[in-house]
Subunit: 194 residues, 6 copies
Amino acid sequence: TPESAERTSVPGVATGLAVTGAGGDVLFIEATEMEGEPGLVLTGQLGDVMKESVQIALSYLRSRDQAGKLADHRIHVHVPAGAVPKDGPSAGVTMVTALASLASGRPVKSSVGMTGEVTLQGKVLPIGGVKQKLLAAHRAGLTGVIIPKRNEPDLDDLPESVRDSLNIHPVADVADVLALALEDAEPAASTLAA
Amino acid sequence: TPESAERTSVPGVATGLAVTGAGGDVLFIEATEMEGEPGLVLTGQLGDVMKESVQIALSYLRSRDQAGKLADHRIHVHVPAGAVPKDGPSAGVTMVTALASLASGRPVKSSVGMTGEVTLQGKVLPIGGVKQKLLAAHRAGLTGVIIPKRNEPDLDDLPESVRDSLNIHPVADVADVLALALEDAEPAASTLAA
Amino acid sequence: TPESAERTSVPGVATGLAVTGAGGDVLFIEATEMEGEPGLVLTGQLGDVMKESVQIALSYLRSRDQAGKLADHRIHVHVPAGAVPKDGPSAGVTMVTALASLASGRPVKSSVGMTGEVTLQGKVLPIGGVKQKLLAAHRAGLTGVIIPKRNEPDLDDLPESVRDSLNIHPVADVADVLALALEDAEPAASTLAA
Amino acid sequence: TPESAERTSVPGVATGLAVTGAGGDVLFIEATEMEGEPGLVLTGQLGDVMKESVQIALSYLRSRDQAGKLADHRIHVHVPAGAVPKDGPSAGVTMVTALASLASGRPVKSSVGMTGEVTLQGKVLPIGGVKQKLLAAHRAGLTGVIIPKRNEPDLDDLPESVRDSLNIHPVADVADVLALALEDAEPAASTLAA
Amino acid sequence: TPESAERTSVPGVATGLAVTGAGGDVLFIEATEMEGEPGLVLTGQLGDVMKESVQIALSYLRSRDQAGKLADHRIHVHVPAGAVPKDGPSAGVTMVTALASLASGRPVKSSVGMTGEVTLQGKVLPIGGVKQKLLAAHRAGLTGVIIPKRNEPDLDDLPESVRDSLNIHPVADVADVLALALEDAEPAASTLAA
Amino acid sequence: TPESAERTSVPGVATGLAVTGAGGDVLFIEATEMEGEPGLVLTGQLGDVMKESVQIALSYLRSRDQAGKLADHRIHVHVPAGAVPKDGPSAGVTMVTALASLASGRPVKSSVGMTGEVTLQGKVLPIGGVKQKLLAAHRAGLTGVIIPKRNEPDLDDLPESVRDSLNIHPVADVADVLALALEDAEPAASTLAA
Ligand SMILES: [Ca+2]
Ligand SMILES: [Ca+2]
Ligand SMILES: [Ca+2]
Ligand SMILES: [Ca+2]
Ligand SMILES: [Ca+2]
Ligand SMILES: [Ca+2]
Ligand SMILES: [Ca+2]
Ligand SMILES: [Ca+2]
Ligand SMILES: [Ca+2]
Ligand SMILES: [Ca+2]
Ligand SMILES: [Ca+2]
Ligand SMILES: [Ca+2]
């Protein structure tokens, strides 16, 4: 899928799945960091629950010493499009993935979309709209999707053709999301020359 | 009970009992800490009274020198599910227990659920919904419950079969809650080798 | 009276008298302090006027160099029950007493309840509901009450039996409240051994 | 007048004149200072305009190097009674006088009441309710009142008996208010012994 | 004009022209500075747009290194009368003039009133109410007025007698306002003696 | 076009295109910086989405180390006219351009207007009102316009005469906007002398 390939080519961007008034849709979580006083800037007209999702994602990584330089830097998380209000907890796994990608420098696999609430312990809780979200992932050309394990029963509602063309990964812990979604760290240029 | 066993396997998580529109329910209080500027991050769509409960819990421990590194670290308390508004003072004992577990490194016993308001002095005040909360504890497979001493009369409303299958601990001081609910500190690996 | 005896056994807790929808009642002001960045945490669903009362109480003590370590420590004042909204200036003398007790380490006498607004200079201003408050003090087993001097005329409304069983102290300055309500400093353990 | 004599016996308290729903009234502005982080605490249910009056009063003194230690200390200004909402700019001269008294250690004359808006340059602007305010001053036993020069025409409305019994000082600059209202600095105890 | 002469006799005060419900009026912008933590205190019941005008005025001067000590000091800008709500961008040139006067120590000419919005680059944008504002300037005895160049066509509405008695300066850049409105720096007393 | 030539003659000012109730219009984004505590001051009655646009623009530059001294200085962004409320994400490219111009010292070309939302990665997203905006650019005498690549289909609605008289640059990445819109750095005066 050209768009997610281009969007996720740099570390810090992950592909999420959302439900809108017009069915499911793919959205991108963009995270970046900069030197300066530590803090978290959130843009994209995020509602209260979604803002809390970003705090949960960051605390999950910081409390496990997986936030790297993020703990000391200024972090900005944006969810385009800028004028569209967004809310809900189901972007939790995508938030953790975008921030873990930024912290580690490992890009997110461009073929993978994801949805799921995350708790502070990293448990993945079920969300709504699985059918619409996976149809949207299929339309957008994604080949892998990550969903909460407790949402497995919702897969029955999916057309068989769609279910067959997607690698569907039900997960219970966000650590498994990171293992599935992050590219291996790219070898540094100097080691390639050996 | 598999879920509370898994959820409370790490220090910082305690099992509470709540009343919702649909009867009683079990909820988990998740607390974690990280280096950084001291402060308290609260998520889970907590109402004003519940936010005050967390402050009371933390001050109770800090003023007694039982907060350990928590006083100097950044603390995040989350109550899943992220999109469900929650309020009321009755999670007070659970808040103290989760934070004391995090501060001491002693996990919370996975078989125990609890409910009760706490004052800044650690007195445990009565709460509502005892019957529904204990039925929910029973359904969830918990074998021990901690309730405020002043709620003992409410136990009459409980079916005898339920009352017999639960170890019910009425308490007047939150210090007794901690004595009942926290696991012993695990011996360090090095001392086991002796 | 067992409850106030237990509640006021540690420094920082004072017994106030309040008017609720259901007549008069006894309430406890709990104050505690901890190391950390100086500041004032207020809980108990306090309204604007009651929050200002705490600030006035603290400034009264600080400006007279009677706040001891409180000026440099983090202070938490809580008024149970946690979910009941409270407001009004009439807990002023109780706030000063709780904080002075905490600062000095001298417990508050468990037999004494009090009511009265305090100004920044320490003047005690009249309040309402004297009759209901003193009836409540009597019911709760208190033997001494402190009221504003300007409320003396309200004592006529009190049943003679109640008036006779209470030591009623009308005061005009909060310094007199402290002299009446605080226990003597307890001799240190080491000096007892002499 | 006994009350103003007692209230203004310490530096930092000045007697103002106000209009309430029930005619004119005397009010006291109480200012105190304490060590700690610089800042301004305002209590007494003050409205926006009255809060701005305090800021103007303090800036007037600070910009003229007349604030002494106030610039570096924590300042608390309270206007009893604590539960009565108050607003309007006409307490401006009283605010300047209370703060100047606190900064200089010179008490305010207990026989003097005052009213008038102050600008940042110290100009005294006219206010309303002169008649009711002066009647209230008279009733309270004050013998001197300070009013804005531009309010002189309002004196015609005053009963002659009242006008004759009050020393009325119309002023255009707040420096004149301070010259009229502050007691001379009291000689230090050591110099009295000479 | 006696009032503006007296009001603008010290640096930091500039004469503005405003439109009120009752026609045009003259207002004074008072700016002062004091040592202490840098910051901007705004009083006079200013609306959002007028508060932004002060920030624009200050940034204009600071970004051009014309703010002198203002950048490091605490600044207070007040617009009497204190209880009258004020809003709109047309006091922009007056704000810049008052702050530039304060920064430079050069008083504002007492004969000059002004109106005009200012951009961050110092461009002077057109405003409304030119006729009423100039009539008010005339009534108040001002002899010079500064207006935006783009408002020149509005001068046609002015009675010829008024237009003839005022020196009207249309300007496009606020630098020209400062050149017209600020007095020359007064020679220091020591150099006068030479 | 005289106005944009004059307005954009200094670094930090870029020409945007907007849709108002009365069709399209040209607006100027003014950015300036000053020494002092780092921070972002926004004026011009900007709505939430437009304020977020400025934060996105600044983070885009800071995270790419293209913000130069802006990261450590105080930045003020103003959008005249001061009293007109403005909102929406379509000034994103103009915000990035104004800030990049300020950071680099390279002025923006006075002949170029622009419109387009920007994401945190610098992707240019489509906006509305292309026809009205380009008509406004034409009326204002601009000769070049930058629009989002995804808005190319909207060009069909434009009169051929207008389309022919404008150099229209569809872009997908804001880096291309900067390459098109910024003047070359002017050689320093000293090198001119060689
Ligand atoms: Ca960098
Ligand atoms: Ca959702
Ligand atoms: Ca750690
Ligand atoms: Ca409850
Ligand atoms: Ca301690
Ligand atoms: Ca002192
Ligand atoms: Ca009351
Ligand atoms: Ca008034
Ligand atoms: Ca000075
Ligand atoms: Ca205006
Ligand atoms: Ca500079
Ligand atoms: Ca728009």
